[in-house]
């Protein structure tokens, strides 16, 4: 079948990385991702595998980072080449049922024993299964050569990954469910850390840096989970500012004004680059060194900074982290959340959130697979070009 496939080519990764700074389009052309005829992936061993025909498949920041060579070497052992990217997927089963995919290839998919009955694919405290079992290594669908991915006509999904899309939900809305699930997970982690030993807990302050899909989703998720929250969003472009405000941010400021906005809201003093107090929790959906330093400095002592979306290598002075006893937490994907004592799947919460915010508004443009250079270039400079989410539309290829 025709598919976009990423091969391990160090020289092309390096060239793409260099050019990504100056020309996203040239970088996308040189990157080791090509539209080619690939062998249909064989059905993985074990039970519960189904064919999913892709309808829409989003382009995530982590896809771009892997393709243009910015991803951390940490992932080298968690992916298997050549792979077909695409993990933000709305597809269709052979019986016509539409599904969104919870892309983590968890215990069930890999023939391992789940950490508990009913666990979500990303749950648990041991990642050994990610490189074991009857699949090649791969943290998710879209990074594993055994299953295929969303940037093709179809791929293999395990039944533990499937979430039925209601008839009334459009493909355009459903394709945003996966990134929104990540946002919800980060928002709930951040909310948990506003409960202990901090003042003004009744109306905690959240700062969200970055207003791409996940940052915007986090704003909406915080507003839903903590109605009394005071939310400050750092956004760069006018359309991001509008969305941030619309999704529930009380204050929206350009990145270089966020620190001042947090100071004003918290009534803090400024001590050098840091605030004396600050946000109860900061969600960082940018991931670079400067934003990480900023996040720690605007989070109040004993608050939390949550990393949403895949960060890269960073150079960071950890002294403020140490002195302020700020918790630096990762928010990788999603799983099972605790809501008022009950286990709830993050994807179910994300489905609801997608409806609340009419998430299809975030889908800015779709491309065919053979337009992948334009699509990837657009996604790599989405903010600057007034866009939020870019996706491949594979419906005509079915």
């Amino acid at each position: 079948m025709k598919a976009l496939q990423v091969r391990h080519n160090v020289r092309r990764f390096g060239a793409a990385r260099l050019l990504s700074v100056t020309s996203p389009r040239t970088s996308a052309r040189i990157a080791p991702v090509d539209l080619r005829n690939v062998e249909d992936p064989a059905e993985p061993s074990g039970s519960g595998w189904v064919k999913v025909r892709n309808r829409l498949a989003g382009i995530c920041g982590s896809d771009i980072a892997l393709i243009d060579g910015h991803a951390s070497t940490y992932f080298e052992d968690f992916v298997s080449f050549p792979f077909i990217p695409g993990h933000e997927i709305v597809g269709e089963l052979e019986n016509g049922e539409r599904v969104v995919i919870e892309p983590v290839l968890g215990h069930a998919a890999r023939g391992s024993v789940p950490p508990w009955d009913g666990a979500a694919p990303a749950d648990g405290d041991d990642y050994a299964h990610l490189v074991r079992g009857h699949l090649k290594p791969g943290i998710q669908t879209g990074f594993c050569c055994s299953t295929g991915g969303g940037w093709a006509r179809w791929f293999w999904a395990h039944e533990s990954q499937l979430h039925t899309v209601p008839d009334e939900m459009s493909d355009e809305r459903a394709v945003l469910v996966e990134p929104l699930a990540g946002s919800v997970h980060a928002a709930l982690i951040a909310a948990q850390h506003t409960n202990h030993h901090l003042t003004d807990r009744d109306s905690p302050i959240f700062a969200v840096l970055g207003a791409g899909t996940m940052g915007l989703g986090a704003i909406a998720a915080i507003r839903g989970a903590v109605p009394n929250a005071r939310i400050i969003a750092g956004a760069r472009y006018p359309h991001q500012m509008r969305f941030a405000k619309g999704f529930g941010a009380d204050v929206v400021a350009p990145g270089d004004e966020v620190s001042r906005a947090v100071r004003r809201m918290s009534g803090a003093h400024r001590i050098g680059a840091s605030l004396s107090s600050g946000a109860h929790a900061t969600i960082n959906a940018v991931g670079d060194s400067a934003s990480l330093a900023l996040s720690i400095n605007i989070t109040r002592p004993r608050g939390a900074t949550v990393l949403l979306g895949m960060p890269g290598e960073s150079k960071l002075d950890l002294t403020p982290l140490w002195h302020r006893e700020v918790a630096l937490l990762g928010a990788y994907t999603y799983g099972t959340e605790q809501i008022e004592g009950n286990d709830v799947r993050t994807f179910d919460l994300a489905m609801a959130l997608a409806n609340t915010i009419e998430a299809e508004r975030l889908l800015s443009a779709t491309y065919r697979l053979d337009q992948h250079v334009e699509a990837l270039a657009h996604a790599a400079s989405a903010g600057r070009r007034g866009a939020v989410k870019i996706a491949f539309d594979v419906r005509e290829d079915q």
Binding site: V251, A253, R260, A261, R264, G267, A268, H269, R270
Partner: protein, 528 residues
């Protein structure tokens, strides 16, 4: 004898006019046959012996006993003086305040007064740096009083050192510096550059609390102040004079000393700034060209340093002492004699070249809010009777209006620009919605009290200062300003003066009358 101010009707032979453009200049040709330029009077000569004039004023005060008779050994004497917001630019040493205070201290020493405090009456302005105190007061006073803590700066946020003296019949509470209130005699040393200053305003604003200032520094007062240079038609001054009555009835004895200076603001090589353009010599034109080109090439910071380094060769033109109201009336006569220019009728468009400095950025950055304050607050208010521009007319200002703030002096201005102006430019709305939060912000309070920052509420006051002009004008255009900053303030950016005239035509038609207020130096248009 200096030539008086006058109104020049522009014709085809009129040369281009000089406009300030922040730390730069431009020459702009105004349309012939429908433009006029208002020139100030030439600078008045200074007193030949200012020291003797001061001594004479102290010995022969107005409606009070001579200062010598008011001083006795066991008394509590407090001397207050105007802060760094005066003069602009700072005057060459010795400053008038130094001359006055030295004369007062000589008499105090003769009388054996040893409980003397000297207080900078800065209201909610930033604390002066030590080098500024030295410049204003001279090394002798600074070295004698600063080390033992008897030379200090008023703190409007120090509850333990504020006291209430009473309230007006309109419920305005006079809350002022405790040392001032408890003194047997308060001497005020003033430098009067414009008619707005002096009188009861010196003490009632200079050593008051935020609460006290908020009775008159608010949108309603400023929108009903017609104008700041005419205290009899100024709601701001009416409130201050009511509070002054409370001070007179319930407070310490006040001995007011007011001095005026001429308009000789610029030394060589900037003398051409004070000349009339058609009288420029070949040397003046060369100097202008060389200066303008140099300033164009210099980084903004360097140009700012040059201008703020200027020491004006101002000369004292008068000094009066005694009862505050009597003194101030004489001061106003002196100021108006120098500043008033009679002007026939209003204009459709008023053009203003906004300079690098305002009362709120000595040794600092003219941020966008101060551009508004200077243009619509001070320059627009340079009138008596009625504004130079007709109601609904257009005000065109020239200034780069860069989005640049002094982080030490103006911290709350940055937040005001980012937060408040993003929400509203309406003084009444911002007063209701935002002012209290800024006024009570602990961080701003800390910086005001211990650093060199303007009070947290000060950007609001700067904005209210322009409230009358903002309300009066149909459109405000800034030529050469940063478009984002200009739009944030609710104004219209234009790249050139011709563009500005084109934009103005939407409001005032194709052949509007134009009036240019020539700056420097200072004038008050008496509009008939």
């Amino acid at each position: 004898m200096p030539r008086p101010g006058f109104v020049l009707d522009v014709d085809r032979s009129t040369p281009p006019m000089l406009f300030w453009h922040g730390e730069k200049f431009s020459l702009e040709r105004l349309p012939a046959d429908r433009s006029r330029v208002i020139y100030p009077a030439e600078s008045f000569p200074g007193l030949t012996d200012p020291q003797a004039a001061i001594r004479d004023a102290l010995e022969h005060p107005l409606d009070m006993e001579p200062l010598r008779a008011l001083l006795h050994a066991d008394m509590k004497l407090t001397i207050c003086f105007d802060d760094a917001s005066l003069s602009l630019p700072k005057m060459r040493r010795p400053d008038s305040r130094q001359r006055i205070i030295e004369a007062v201290l000589d008499l105090a020493a003769e009388a054996g007064v040893d409980d003397v405090h000297i207080i900078a009456a800065l209201g909610l302005h930033r604390r002066m740096h030590d080098y500024e105190l030295r410049h204003v007061l001279g090394g002798r006073i600074f070295d004698a009083f600063a080390p033992n803590g008897t030379l200090y700066q008023h703190d409007a946020e120090d509850p333990e050192n504020l006291t209430v003296l009473g309230e007006t019949d309109q419920g305005e509470v006079l809350e002022i510096n405790k040392r001032v209130a408890d003194s047997d005699l308060v001497v005020y040393a003033n430098v009067n550059q414009v008619a707005m200053d002096g009188g009861w305003k010196s003490l009632v604003t200079g050593v008051a609390s935020y609460r006290c200032l908020s009775y008159h520094h608010n949108p309603e007062s400023l929108q009903n102040t017609r104008s700041l240079m005419d205290r009899h038609h100024s709601a701001l001054h009416h409130s201050i004079w009511r509070l002054g009555k409370v001070l007179r009835d319930n407070g310490p004895k006040v001995f007011q000393i007011e001095s005026t200076v001429n308009t000789d603001a610029f030394p060589s090589p900037f003398e051409f700034l004070s000349k009339r353009e058609w009288e420029w010599t070949a040397r003046d034109r060369m100097t202008y060209l060389a200066t303008a080109k140099t300033l164009d090439r210099l980084p903004r910071r360097a140009a700012r340093k040059i201008f703020h380094g200027i020491e004006a060769p101002y000369a004292m033109t008068g000094v009066h002492a005694g009862f505050t109201e009597s003194v101030h009336e004489r001061t106003l006569e002196d100021v108006y004699r120098q500043h008033i220019v009679e002007v026939e009728g209003q204009t459709d468009i008023l053009t203003l070249g906004v300079p690098f400095i305002s009362p709120y950025n000595p040794e600092s950055i003219m941020n966008p809010i101060l551009v508004m304050c200077m243009g619509l607050g001070y320059m627009f208010n340079m009138y008596r009777n009625k504004p130079l521009v007709r109601e609904g007319g257009v005000i065109i200002m020239t200034h780069p209006t860069y989005r640049d703030f002094h982080p030490v002096h103006h911290p709350s201005y940055i937040d005001f620009f980012d937060e408040v102006l993003s929400d509203t430019t309406d003084p009444a709305v911002m007063s209701e919605k935002w002012e209290k939060r800024y006024a009570e912000d602990e961080w701003y309070r800390h910086l005001y009290r211990t650093g060199n920052a303007y009070h947290g509420v000060h950007p609001f006051y700067a904005w209210y200062w322009g409230a009358h002009g903002q309300q009066w004008a149909g459109k405000v255009i800034i030529v050469g300003g940063d478009p984002t900053a200009v739009r944030r303030m609710g104004f219209t950016p234009a790249s050139t003066m011709d563009d500005a005239f084109e934009l103005a035509s939407d409001v005032v038609g194709r052949s509007p009358s134009i009036t240019h207020l020539h700056v420097p130096s200072v004038l008050v248009a008496d509009v008939k």
